[in-house]
Symmetry: C2
Subunit: 179 residues, 2 copies
Amino acid sequence: MTAAPELSTRSDRAAQIVAVARRILDDEGVEALTMRRVAEAIGVRAPSLYKHFATKRALEAALIEEGMVEMGQVLHDAVSSSPRGGAVRSLLEAYRRAATSRPALYRLATAGPLPREDLPPGLEAWAGEPFIRVTGDPGRAQALFSLAHGLVILELDQRFPPGSDLGRTWEAGAAAFAT
Amino acid sequence: MTAAPELSTRSDRAAQIVAVARRILDDEGVEALTMRRVAEAIGVRAPSLYKHFATKRALEAALIEEGMVEMGQVLHDAVSSSPRGGAVRSLLEAYRRAATSRPALYRLATAGPLPREDLPPGLEAWAGEPFIRVTGDPGRAQALFSLAHGLVILELDQRFPPGSDLGRTWEAGAAAFAT
DNA sequence: TTGGCTGGCTAACGATGTTAGCTATAATGG
DNA sequence: CCATTATAGCTAACATCGTTAGCCAGCCAA
């Protein structure tokens, strides 16, 4: 219910860099996201990017911020419009769809430690709110988030044995947390 | 209950390389695991390693195999010796302890796609068996595994907000899946 | 006019995985 | 017992990566 936090403001050039990086990430995958590749797509040389982002990690943080905003919005919408008693399922469905439709960004945003110092304060909490709304309890919220993330990341990485019925797997997860 | 599958056999040198790589991984973290670092610790030059492992990924696969065997053994033991009705909790506790005591190996073994072609057949299924024993259903087993993995990886990556009571989070997860 | 800021550039560094090509030693077969 | 072949090391090098140093052109304010 809380309003989305203030997002970072960027110069035109910086915004363009982020947009181009995002397109490369979505279209060509995470291994294509190199400073030289981003620079080339803009029509500039790699070292020039460092006039706008101190490090590749900082550029990634901008992408992570974008990903968290989109994901948070999707999840807030999902729980707001969920049918009576079906909030957990709506949340999990929305989570799965949002993550698998931008797999590289999801991975970038969730693998490894969060660069919290490069993210707007409050963003993390805001994006996680839907889990609290749906469970009513911080411990249960974090457990449900862990389940959702585990399901998504294992699905993206094809860690389930080939031929697994992932629909049943997600359903079993939802059933465990349904009220 | 199934017996552990046959493991890979290696020459003395290959086994030594894996052992050294494992020590570096455990003691110095994943970013220290480079071909040159491993070679140096053995007293050899990096290109010589390629006489024993075709690629770094193949060496990592050997480490992943080791990790899956250790983890599988721990989980099998945990469900075998679990008190009546407490199998889910025993399994989750064992999973958490085994993963967090070798964080770099756990990450290596679970981040990104499995190099299935470099792993002994049956190992993956054997390591996952305890989840089926405890849930009685493949869908629920995969969901419980997803929860365990999500909890562990988010904990290792410090993705939970600082100050979180992870004990409560794990307990909430166990409660959702307890029979 | 001058001085500094902005944002490009080239050249280069060090690290990484990996390959090519050479060589010494060990094993094997006639 | 010698000849050959496989094993396992070596050096040199390559391409790619993030990143830094140092230079310079243009613009804007004092």
